[in-house]
């Protein structure tokens, strides 16, 4: 199904274009403006050229050191949570009940953390992890672990990562579940007739079908963890010391805390550029995957099993719970 060329479609897109341009382009222009200047308050600005950018990318200066350190921490954080959430999300999606009221119940509980305001997520874990009044901290300390996320770097990191896993694994799981649901029953029946093992079914049927949604999941999770602010800020405040200060926390500190407009603006631009590049890579991969799938579907339509034809003659296969 080819799209028709129609330039009038721009009229339909215009409202979106205006709204987003108003919220994105206009403020960004201010940022570019600030990033080239220095200020000593009183709305007096001085031209500083690329000075802030030079400082930002030089680890020996204060600004550069802080930025690169927080960037490193943030990348480590993003990779760590992806490494946990993606496999865990797949496992949870595969563990979803098949039918009945339990499906709805599981879906609602899974989605619950996603709808809690981010600072309340922080508050929940702040309370839950405290050694004096929180269940987790209390139990861990009673078991002999010296757990305290306020004073110990490692404990703070573990708390922040576990909190993110708690908060967002459901997103990965729900996306994978949607992918799994779209697999026609006939695929499984064919696999069963072929005597495929559980692992083979996962590798040959379920994983390829989840490809696309997994890509969306990784994209969303990477981006959102890369700009995480509220949750770790509420729990650890970026500390102990600077050990859980991520890029957004550093940026807000500089921009709204110290009101260092030039530095903050330069940091914003570099930060945005990194995000833009990563986003572009994902987008390219995603559109290419879409094209590939279309080509594949067009070249081998005969291989696609016809669910209606395959389903009818094999009612005897229905009770396959024991095999799985």
């Amino acid at each position: 199904m080819d799209k028709t060329v129609n330039q009038k479609a721009w009229f339909l897109v215009l409202p979106v274009f205006l709204v987003v341009a108003f919220s994105a382009v206009l403020p960004l222009m201010t940022v570019v403006n600030y990033s080239m200047q220095d200020t000593f308050g009183n709305n007096q600005f001085f031209w500083n050229g690329v000075g802030w950018f030079k400082e930002l990318l030089d680890p020996s200066t204060d600004l550069g050191g802080r930025f690169l350190a927080s960037l490193g921490r943030n990348l480590f954080f993003s990779l760590a949570i992806l490494a946990i959430e993606v496999p865990l999300g797949i496992v949870v999606a595969l563990s979803m009940p098949r039918e009945g009221w339990t499906v709805a119940a599981c879906l609602v509980v899974l989605a619950l953390p996603l709808l809690i305001p981010w600072n309340v997520v922080g508050t929940i874990w702040q309370i839950f992890g405290r050694p004096d009044i929180g269940l987790l901290g209390y139990v861990l300390n009673a078991m002999g672990f010296d757990y305290n996320y306020v004073s110990n770097d490692v404990d703070a990191w573990v708390t922040v990562i576990v909190m993110d896993v708690w908060h967002w694994t459901s997103l990965v799981a729900l996306l994978c579940y949607a992918g799994l649901k779209s697999i026609p029953e006939a695929y499984y029946q064919a696999a069963q007739i072929d005597g495929a093992s559980r692992w083979a079914v996962f590798k040959a049927i379920q994983l390829p079908k989840m490809n696309r949604v997994l890509l969306i999941a990784v994209l969303l999770r990477f981006m959102d963890s890369f700009m995480i602010y509220t949750e770790p800020f509420v729990v650890t405040g970026g500390g102990p010391g600077n050990s859980t200060t991520f890029v957004s926390i550093e940026l807000v500190k500089i921009a709204l805390g110290q009101f260092d407009l030039g530095k903050a603006a330069a940091l914003s631009l570099v930060y945005n550029l990194i995000i833009l590049i990563v986003c572009w890579i994902f987008y390219t991969v995603m559109t290419n995957a879409g094209v590939e799938r279309k080509v594949q579907a067009e070249s081998e339509p005969a291989v696609e099993p016809k669910p209606s034809a395959a389903l009818k003659p094999v009612p005897a296969l229905k009770p396959r719970e024991g095999v799985a």
């Binding site: 709204v19 919220s23 609602v108 619950l112 709808l115 309370i127 708690w166 729900l174 996306l175 807000v252």
Partner: protein, 268 residues
């Protein structure tokens, strides 16, 4: 064949992991402050409603909920209204710069709120919208409009093109076709998109806090302020937290049948 061995156990453990911290918050909201601080109890031994009572009677508390709901609803309406025609255009037509535009929109969904906090503050102060629900509603458009376009595009693409053509042959004008035929066909998609706009606007704090000071302060910001000022009123904090979870839980219940497909952004 579909699922894995021990799936009930895995699911059970995961659900407990999800619910336990929430239970602890609910548990604490019904305790008195002296019980919270002095003893470790798994359920409230002297249950009390004092924290909830305080929130529902003190205007500086409950107005926060009203403010939050106000900008969330405004934002959802704006986002869906502008995203619908755009989603149709992206789904049906090819036009100059369409792919670049789509990517540009998407990249705004990913832009960090921290980058925009300060410029938004200047922008909305300059046009006199600072400290109104409109400021926050418009600011949240930056990530919700692209998301709504993205989701709705998936759903519009699921409607066969023949339906458009038949409608136009039958003499429907474009606006009439849009409202009478297309919108009912993708009603579930609109529901899902609205759900997501609601969700992301409801959970966001950084922009909402930066763009308001007194009149339109969201509940999330009121909570953080109280923590630092009143010191350790844990029970009140927990009660306020529980109340922020409730609207989300209600919304989930209404869209539970579309949740899975919605999270795949209409693309499965």
């Amino acid at each position: 064949m579909h699922s894995i061995p021990g799936r009930r156990l895995i699911m059970g453990l995961f659900l407990i992991f999800l619910l336990l911290p929430i239970y602890w918050l609910v548990n604490m909201s019904f305790k008195t402050n002296s019980e919270i601080v002095s003893t470790m109890t798994l359920w409230p031994h002297t249950p009390t409603l004092q924290h909830y009572k305080r929130i529902f009677t003190d205007e500086s508390w409950y107005s926060g909920y009203i403010n939050s709901l106000e900008y969330v609803v405004l934002n959802t309406i704006i986002s869906i209204a502008v995203a619908l025609p755009a989603a149709y255009a992206f789904s049906r037509y090819r036009f100059l710069g369409d792919k670049h535009l789509f990517f540009w929109l998407l990249s705004n969904r990913m832009a960090p709120a921290a980058v925009y906090a300060l410029p938004f503050f200047n922008l909305y102060s300059a046009i006199g919208l600072f400290d109104t629900p409109w400021a926050v509603a418009l600011a949240h458009c930056i990530f919700n409009v692209p998301l709504a376009v993205w989701i709705l595009e998936g759903f519009v693409s699921g409607v066969p093109r023949e339906i458009d053509e038949t409608a136009f042959l039958d003499g429907y004008s474009f606006p009439r076709f849009f409202i009478k035929i297309l919108v009912p066909l993708i009603a579930s998609g609109i529901g899902v998109a609205a759900f997501f706009c609601f969700m992301f606007s409801w959970v966001e704090l950084l922009l909402a806090r930066t763009l308001t000071s007194v009149q339109a302060k969201p509940i999330a910001a009121i909570m953080t302020r109280t923590v630092s000022a009143a010191g350790m009123d844990w029970g009140l904090l927990a009660a306020a937290g529980v109340l922020t979870i409730i609207p989300g839980a209600l919304v989930i219940w209404f869209v539970r049948n579309y949740i899975a497909r919605g999270f795949a952004l209409g693309r499965v």
